[in-house]
């Protein structure tokens, strides 16, 4: 049509671009080769600096060239005076800025910048902070920049309150950026440390424990500030309850309790002449200086974990030299020292008794509230109210449900058991991708509750049948249990940790899906194992039972293994002590 503007065709444009690219590639390759050969010859001159600059400004991720540049700059440090060096380094910084424009997430450029900044004779930290702020305003999740910024803040000692205001700003513009929340969590304890008086009566430390270390204190924040933080974070999760950043920060605010490191239980058995020690966390007894003193005499004993799989374990066992405590009429006093901490626990084995122990019960320790135990009950109660309010508006929000469960557990695990189970049911439905996670978590809470009930009843029977358990945990708390009933759950295995049940005599685990008995290992008192209707399929799966010397009764009805030819004779060979076998 008349007057129409003529435009180059796509093919023509492509052709031009192709030529252009070829030309650039030629220049690039030539420059690269020149650079490499200079480096080989050990030439550190301005020309090399220039060529590498040209190459890097088009490809800032060329690590070898950055290395070469550093070599050149280090060489220049030896021949130039300070003013000249300052100029060279300032030029390098502005060059780096242009590289960051090409690729704001270039490892090489940020690393070089860090390197230059720390070598600059007269650093301008304000400028660096400014650069970081600009970068973060373009992409507030640029972790390279976050890293670099942390270094700049450290080097230039920016006041903490200024940094907190910085996080205010970032969170204000985008509260879904977990980097800002996380940074906040590192600043708050510095700016608003918890007042030094003991926090809450429930955490009264046992007399033997050392005062809290400065490290544990430094994670805490004073209550006044905490209340402000709750408000801030609630604004975030009410605005967008599906954003996980705020919820994670909230969890951090609610619970940062650290378990006391201590010996939680010492058990001694006269028959086996054996001592078992439980710790509040998994330890390596060989490395942590465990010392056993019997009637005032340090004993040379060999500590072993309950299962060879564990280098670290909360329960350790040792055999006393034969004959040391086997005579019934004598009384013995034991002390286990944990020299590394240092802490210790005494245990007396009285006349006529075949076993003895000394421990804090789970109820005394408020053990299972530890995750959120920092706060006063009243604070937790009001937080639970806010979350319930949100849950009314968003009945299917998983973060809210999960937080409610945690708050309920911190407040009254047994009282809220029914609600907790109902919420777990909802969680599994709304977040089916993680239903196994919720099942495991629910199992954990059910076990905790059962332990608490057992403690209140002061018995050594642990019964948790028909509770949809998918996993076992807290087995170190069951060191003294003689009778365990796990029937009618969904367990698939008795894990190595199961070997911590050192006093176990009867194991009931009918109607599960157990295939693996790894944890039924060296249980010295175990007499009965009931495994009706499980999934044990081969003789080798039963191998661990052979390590239990007292095993007399074994029920394997309803397991595939019973279909093995000659099963009876093979079992008699494997488990000679069993006298009552049900197949």
């Amino acid at each position: 049509m008349h007057g129409r503007v003529k435009v180059k065709s796509t093919a023509q444009q492509e052709e031009e671009k192709k030529k252009e690219r070829e030309k650039k590639l030629k220049i690039y390759v030539a420059a690269r080769d020149a650079c490499f050969s200079k480096r080989k010859e050990g030439i550190f001159d301005d020309e090399a600096l220039q060529i590498s600059q040209q190459l890097l400004s088009s490809n800032p991720d060329f690590a070898t060239l950055w290395n070469y540049r550093r070599e050149i700059l280090m060489h220049l440090e030896t021949v130039k005076d300070e003013d000249e060096l300052q100029k060279i380094y300032v030029a390098e910084l502005s060059f780096l800025e242009s590289c960051l424009k090409v690729n704001p997430k270039s490892y090489g450029s940020w690393h070089q910048r860090l390197w230059v900044s720390t070598r600059l004779p007269k650093p301008d930290w304000a400028r660096e902070l400014n650069l970081c702020d600009r970068c973060l305003s373009l992409d507030d999740r640029n972790f390279h920049c976050w890293d670099y910024r942390r270094m700049v803040v450290k080097m230039s000692s920016v006041p903490v309150d200024q940094e907190l205001a910085f996080t205010d700003r970032l969170i204000g513009s985008n509260f879904s950026n977990y980097s800002s929340w996380h940074y906040r969590s590192t600043l708050l304890p510095l700016l608003h440390p918890e007042s030094p008086e003991p926090p809450s009566p429930c955490r009264k430390p046992p007399q033997s424990s050392p005062p809290p270390s400065p490290q544990t204190l430094s994670h805490r924040v004073c209550e006044e500030q905490l209340l402000k933080e709750y408000e801030l974070v609630q604004n975030a999760f009410f605005t967008d309850p599906n954003d996980q950043s705020a919820w994670f920060y909230y969890r951090w605010l609610l619970g940062r309790a650290e378990r006391e490191e201590m010996i939680s239980c010492v058990y001694v058995s006269r028959d086996e002449e054996r001592v078992a020690v439980a710790f509040s966390r998994p330890v390596n007894a060989e490395a942590s200086g465990l010392l056993l003193v019997l009637d005032g005499q340090p004993q040379r004993v060999e500590w072993r974990s309950v299962h060879p799989r564990f280098k670290h374990s909360p329960v350790w066992i040792c055999d006393l030299p034969p004959g040391t405590i086997s005579d019934i009429p004598y009384e013995h006093n034991l002390t286990v020292h944990w020299t590394e901490k240092p802490t210790h626990r005494d245990c007396a084995l009285y006349t006529g008794r075949s076993e003895s122990w000394c421990r804090d019960s789970a109820t005394d320790q408020e053990l299972f509230r530890s995750e959120l135990s920092v706060e006063k009950t009243s604070v937790l109660q009001s937080e639970l109210q806010s979350c319930n309010q949100l849950q009314e508006l968003e009945p299917l929000n998983k973060w809210c449900l999960l937080t409610i469960i945690l708050l309920m557990r911190a407040l009254d695990p047994l009282g809220y058991e029914k609600e907790t189970l109902a919420h777990f049911q909802t969680l599994k439905e709304v977040d089916s991708m993680r239903s196994a996670y919720y099942s495991d978590l629910c199992s954990k809470f059910m076990i905790e509750n059962t332990i608490l009930k057992m403690e209140y009843a002061e018995v050594r029977v642990f019964s948790i049948s028909d509770k949809n358990l998918t996993t076992l945990c807290h087995l170190d708390q069951l060191l003294l249990v003689t009778h365990i009933n796990l029937s009618s759950n969904q367990l698939q295995r008795l894990p190595p940790q199961f070997a911590m049940l050192q006093c176990l005599e009867v194991l009931e685990a009918d109607n599960n899906s157990i295939e693996n008995l790894e944890g039924v290992y060296h249980l010295p008192k175990l007499e009965e194992v009931l495994l009706k209707n499980n999934k044990i399929s081969s003789l080798s799966d039963l191998q661990p039972l052979a390590s239990c010397p007292m095993l007399k009764r074994l029920d394997l009805r309803g397991n595939p293994v019973t279909q093995t030819p000659d099963i009876e004779s093979k079992l008699a060979e494997l488990l000679p002590s069993v006298t009552n076998l049900l197949l």
Binding site: M1, V5, K24, I27, F238, L390
Partner: protein, 600 residues
Amino acid sequence: MAAEDLPSEFDVVILGTGLAESVAAAAFSRVGQRVLHLDRRSYYAANWASFTFNALLTWIQQHQEEPQPEEVQDWSSLLEEGEELIYLSQSDSASIRNVQVFCYTSEEDEEEEEALNTTEEEPKPDSADPQAQTEPGPEEASHTEGDEPESLQLVPPAAQNQSEPSKKKISYAHLVREGRRFNIDLVSKLMYSRGSLVDLLIKSNVSRYAEFKNVTRILTFRNGRVEQVPCSRSDVFASRQLSVVEKRKLMRFLTSCAEETEEQRAYNGRPYMEFLSDQKLGDNLQHFLLHSIAMVTEATPTEEGLAATRHFLRCLGRYGNTPFLFPVYGLGEIPQCFCRMCAVFGGIYCLRHSVSCLLLDTHSNRCKAVIDSRGQRISCSHVVLEEGFVGADRKRTNTPPRFLSRAVLITDRSILPTDSEQQVSMVTVPPAAAGGPAVKMVELSPSTMTCSPGTYLVHLTCPSIGPAHQDLSPLVTSMFRTPESPDHEGPSVLWSLFFNMADGSGLEAEGHDLPENVYLSSGPDAELGHDHAIRQAESIFQKVLPEEEFCPPAPNPEDILYDGDTLGDTADGETGDTIGDITDKPPPPERRDGQNLKSE
């Protein structure tokens, strides 16, 4: 240009340089049509224009004068066999009425202020010789100032210290002296970030001719107080006036709006207000959603309210925390950008030049040529006319025209001051009484280059009930300090202008007795966005050229082939010195303080 005649043949002749005509001109020119684009006014953009303060005073004076009786020249001598004349209206006065100006500040600077001032800059007098015919090209700045007649206000050559806006009351003399810093729009609109105008600017590459600022906040006037409306996610998070439960309800409502649900469909035909109140959102949120986000009335049907809400939400976050953009230097820039695009592709421009009559071929009932105001006969295939050119005798129906009420205020501070003085605010004011018009208010800060430092420019718009002053002055006195409201704690009004403008949304394309190849376009409508004008331009374009694409992307200047330009000799621009510049960046924009539009 006076001596020179125009070419005597064009494909399309367009009268009026308002938004719809300018977009149509660009679209025609872009696909190779020969376009003649005329405006009888001395400035671009018709009723969409932006004026400096002094030029606005001229415009006011023109519209306060009694309209001159039209001299009708007789061009029948130019007629040939089988032709007929259709005379066009030459008066511009019908679309603007009831112009009233109030100055509430002292005429002259106070004495002591004068003493402090130092001479830094002398304002240049406005060009006394407006270009009668211009062809705006990329190299030519398209400010309106150059095209304005000499201001009737004599500019005193007094000096002013520009860097320190005085805390003292700004005088009228100061406003006149600083007049060139103002770009006062006749219409008050905003650009929806995903509205048809922004899409068109991006698609056609016309956006390269202008820069834009985000509207930074949405405000509402409620119970006598100005409040910020939380509309984006971060606004809601930061809001101090909403409880956490309200935050949740608001966010949930906004999220649920995104898609149409059965529940929403059940309310079709029933008022949006009813739908909102059934959502149990509470008064606060209901007010925000109805008046500030959907910007509809209580009687608007639910489906329309939801559509408006969705549009608002879709626009949110594309360029900033509000759904709106505003062009730096004012809305008058937009039609000029399209004119520039038209000129780049060969369109010819004449201001102060018009068409006196259309030449009708009685046989085919088509317009075959026009006769311009100088009596030149110019043949053409199609004519686009601004509605105002058509005389009343050509209207088939006789519905009374609708009007908008407009007010322009120059104030001394923001209605909701914050730390930042760069705020650009959209303010929604719900009807004072049920059934009354809602007022849309836009407050511009000097960062938009539409007012001088230390002042704010406030635009108010509503559908007319009576004269603009009657419609809008009660609101002005309830929000600002004026002589009628001397004790008000709000910003002081320094100067104000009220006028009524014809509402362009009433145009009935079929309601005129015109040849089939003559198309009508209308002036600005009452809506906040620009959809009406863009739609109009596109529909005219498609009637003329149904096969052609409407405003396809303009090619990069380097890809355009000029006569004699062959592929081999493009190597001249080579630099070859660095290997760094792999991307060829366009030269930096002339004005660096705004934002360029980019498509995603």
